[in-house]
Amino acid sequence: MNEKGGSLLLAEFDAKFPYDYSAGRYASYFLKQLRDHKRIMGIRCPKCQKVFVPPRPACGYCFVKNGAWVDMGDEGTLWGYTVVQFPFLDPMTGVERPIPYGYGFIALKGAATRLQHFVTASDLNKLRIGMRMKAVFKEERAGNMLD
């Protein structure tokens, strides 16, 4: 604001930046296994034997290319979580995600790293670290993490 009677203008910019990512060889295989077989696949480092899920091309600790695929099954334990209570615009759908909902880190059996995903329970207040979790798949799957 200035005393000469003017006011500051604001400029709103709303730009769409479209991207067309290559999933790459590893993510493509992982997502296709989700979509076609309801299987969660991890990948093992040939050197330290750590299993990473979701998979990545190289083990950052050993700096080698990852090797064998491992079926992680659909069970794990809840390693960490939160229950989101504030409403915000979901950038993926353009609509406000219904609250409350849970996010969690799930330690699948045999994985060296935790999977990040949505978590839910019949009563969200009952979520506890260490709880046993089971993966739930959509009936119609598209080949992405929301399957």
Partner: protein, 376 residues
């Protein structure tokens, strides 16, 4: 300090099988393997990429494992690759690090180049007008031609030379034999820049290993010594300066020549790798670097002086016009200039190279120059 290894992926219009980590792991692991080194030999990693091109912020996060930076020092440079090399060199010269693995990556195919280039401009005064890199470079070209008498045929000759040179280079994807007539009649994009005067959409990555003198000598029978290096910025607002002038490059080049003890660049530099995003730029940068008087670069190319077998080969690699991605392009200039000093240029090798000069340019406002030499 010097360069002991370089590695490039094939540059393609769309590397559809490669995610960023896969691209980066390829060049990182192979540059080390070829140099007979391991990731443990590297004190630090410098990554080079741009958030808007990668479609995510902190773009180095995506590739941190792929370049070996887990539990190691890593720093990202979001400028053209030649500046990333400069930055890596500075970190070594600071005394804090002995070596560096530098990895540059970009996939132009995944985003919208027009929107991304438009986003670099000031939102209130320029972005709203829809400016992008092509349009502003076209205006620079017009200004340059008007002030210094360069014409479109001379620029077309640059495209012909570089596209032809690229055929001797296994990496780029758009090398071809064309005539001046074909360049002149290619689709007009923004007057005076036509399709064959402009670089193509490209994906790829490039890695460079740098090391302090003692380590460079230990690791390589013929390290490529960096004997002169400088960078200068110009004013950001394009209307401020006469775009036909290249003050930042002139200053950077002078500083680099001084450092390297070069007093007559035309005679003492054996070849130049410069950033030819658009054909007119080659002529403009040559003048800015003092290889001829202002306005004379057109004559240089007409006389064949800058041809592969000429007195001062320029862009023996085929340049960016043959197909290098933005961002990576600057690192490739350094890599190719280094390859020439190493004598590993294969079909594109220029004979008896003692000193090469690599320059980069970016974001329409800065330039740098680096002199590479067989002798320290």
């Amino acid at each position: 300090m010097g360069i002991v290894g370089v590695y490039q992926t094939k540059y393609e219009p769309r590397k559809i099988f490669d995610s960023y980590p896969e691209l980066v792991f390829e060049v990182s692991s192979k540059v080390l393997a070829e140099a007979g080194l391991t990731i443990e030999d590297m004190d630090q990693i410098v990554t080079n990429s741009q958030d808007f091109w990668d479609g995510r912020t902190i773009s180095n996060r995506t590739v941190s494992e792929a370049c070996g930076s887990v539990l190691r020092a890593e720093s990202k440079v979001a400028m053209d690759g030649s500046f990333a090399v400069f930055y890596a060199a500075m970190r070594i010269l600071s005394g804090c690090y002995d070596s560096c693995l530098l990895v540059s990556h970009c996939k132009m195919s995944e985003g919208s180049p027009h929107l991304i280039n438009n986003a670099m401009f000031d939102p209130l005064y320029q972005r709203i007008l829809g400016f992008d890199e092509l349009a502003t470079c076209a205006m620079q070209a017009k200004r340059y031609m008007h002030k210094y008498g360069i014409n479109e045929e001379q620029c077309a000759k640059v495209a012909v030379k570089n596209l032809q040179n690229g055929r001797k280079n296994p990496y780029p994807h758009r090398a071809m034999d064309v005539t001046v007539g074909q360049v002149m009649s290619s689709e007009m994009l923004a007057d005076p820049i036509k399709a064959l005067d402009a670089y193509p959409i490209t994906d790829g990555a490039c890695a460079v290993i740098l090391a302090i003198e003692e380590k460079a000598r230990k690791w390589s029978p013929q390290p490529v010594w960096i004997t002169g290096i400088a960078s200068r910025l110009d004013s950001f607002y394009l209307g401020d300066r006469d775009l036909a002038e290249v003050a930042s490059l002139e200053l950077a080049a002078k500083k680099a020549y001084n450092m390297a003890g070069v007093t007559n660049p035309r005679r003492e530099i054996d070849l130049v790798e410069l950033s030819d995003f658009y054909s007119y730029q080659e002529l403009l940068w040559l003048e800015g670097m003092g290889f001829c008087q202002r306005g004379e670069a057109g004559e240089m190319i007409a006389k064949g002086i800058t041809a592969l077998n000429g007195e001062l080969p320029v862009n023996p690699s085929g340049g960016i016009l043959s197909g290098n991605p933005v961002t990576v392009a600057g690192a490739v200039r350094v890599a190719e200039a280094a390859i020439q000093v190493m004598g590993k240029g294969g079909k594109r090798q220029v004979p008896n190279v003692n000193r090469s000069l690599a320059t980069g340019f970016g974001g329409s406002w800065w330039s740098d120059a680096m002199i590479l030499s067989r002798t320290p």
